[in-house]
Symmetry: D2
Subunit: 115 residues, 4 copies
């Protein structure tokens, strides 16, 4: 039995194999991967920048953005998992720790969002 919140081992392995097959490990310093992650988030943000909040709710279904938003979410996730991997960070541990801290910091009850 596991109580993992997220499981990324197969994806980590796929990304390592991808980099190995292309000689890309030399580019994959944490510094460079943090930049690549940031650039991909920029492309994701671009999809939403001129939309109202209400319009933004339909982006996952609208025919002209449904694939684009999936692709950009994937790109962000790929670089995030790759970055954690080269840093030796266990994302499930990181997330579990952060959620526990957030639960203390933001007690349940109707409140304005802060974090």
């Amino acid at each position: 039995m596991t109580d993992k919140l997220i499981e990324v081992a197969a994806l980590e392995a796929a990304l390592q194999a991808f980099a190995d097959a292309r000689g890309w490990n030399r580019y994959h310093s944490p510094k460079n991967l943090a930049m690549a992650l940031s650039a991909e988030v920029g492309e994701l943000v671009e999809l939403f920048q001129w939309l109202t909040e209400e319009q933004s709710r339909g982006v996952g279904r609208a025919p002209d953005t449904a694939r684009a938003v999936r692709d950009e979410l994937a790109d962000v996730l790929l670089y995030l998992v790759r970055l954690a991997s080269v840093l030796g960070v266990d994302l499930d541990e990181a997330v579990q720790t952060k959620l526990a801290a957030n639960a203390l910091k933001y007690p349940a009850g109707d409140t304005p969002q802060r974090a």
Copy 2:
């Protein structure tokens, strides 16, 4: 048997429960979550900005950054999974599709990184 590359259902559910318990769903439009994701990536980038690539390789182990980098990676992941969730996007499908496209676009063999 599954051939999923990533499994986030438990984390999605935890984030939904967290938002429900605080009345935060009204803040969680895709537009707002894309902004929050982008702000968290900024905090992650900040950890690396003045380091050399070589120094950046030690950030996951150095005592004064090991926890900070885990926290920032977690924050990015939390908003990414929450954003996919409110958009109705299956991250595993998105990642599988993108990796297949990348494999076609960047044939194996030693090459300069482009993507």
Copy 3:
């Protein structure tokens, strides 16, 4: 007579003197400054992320955000001007060229924003 759209020479000089006095030139590679710029934009975005568009219009005047938003805008501008400076880029030329290109790309007339 000048028809410059922007004049940043005094600020460039102030930033160079600031870096000189602290031995910071060695940190100011374009790569590092692009990261610092990106991190500062993250702090700026954070001020707006949970606000409605309407609420965001008051951020420059609201007592609890008026100074913060000025500080973040300044930080972004400082790194942008410093980055252009170390790259040897004339920002006025860059802006004039881009505006001329934009005027061709987006003819006048009521249109949805794209760029």
Copy 4:
């Protein structure tokens, strides 16, 4: 005599006229402009992400990046000035205030960069 560090009034006016001529003011909430700024910074970061620091120093002169980096710097500057404009923020005041604060916070003398 002026002791302004930066002068952006002509650019502000040009951007206002550009938006007026296209009916784009309705898109230019501070929230939206902060997102557009962030997306443009992503495109700028992308130019540097796989380069070493040393390679990044040549980006302003290399034939295949010289125009691209000018265009991206311009895009960032255009959105930054437009954002300050709709917020009613005087960028010169903001920068002067921030530089004075930085001079107190980081005394002169050879030190590791922090800010």
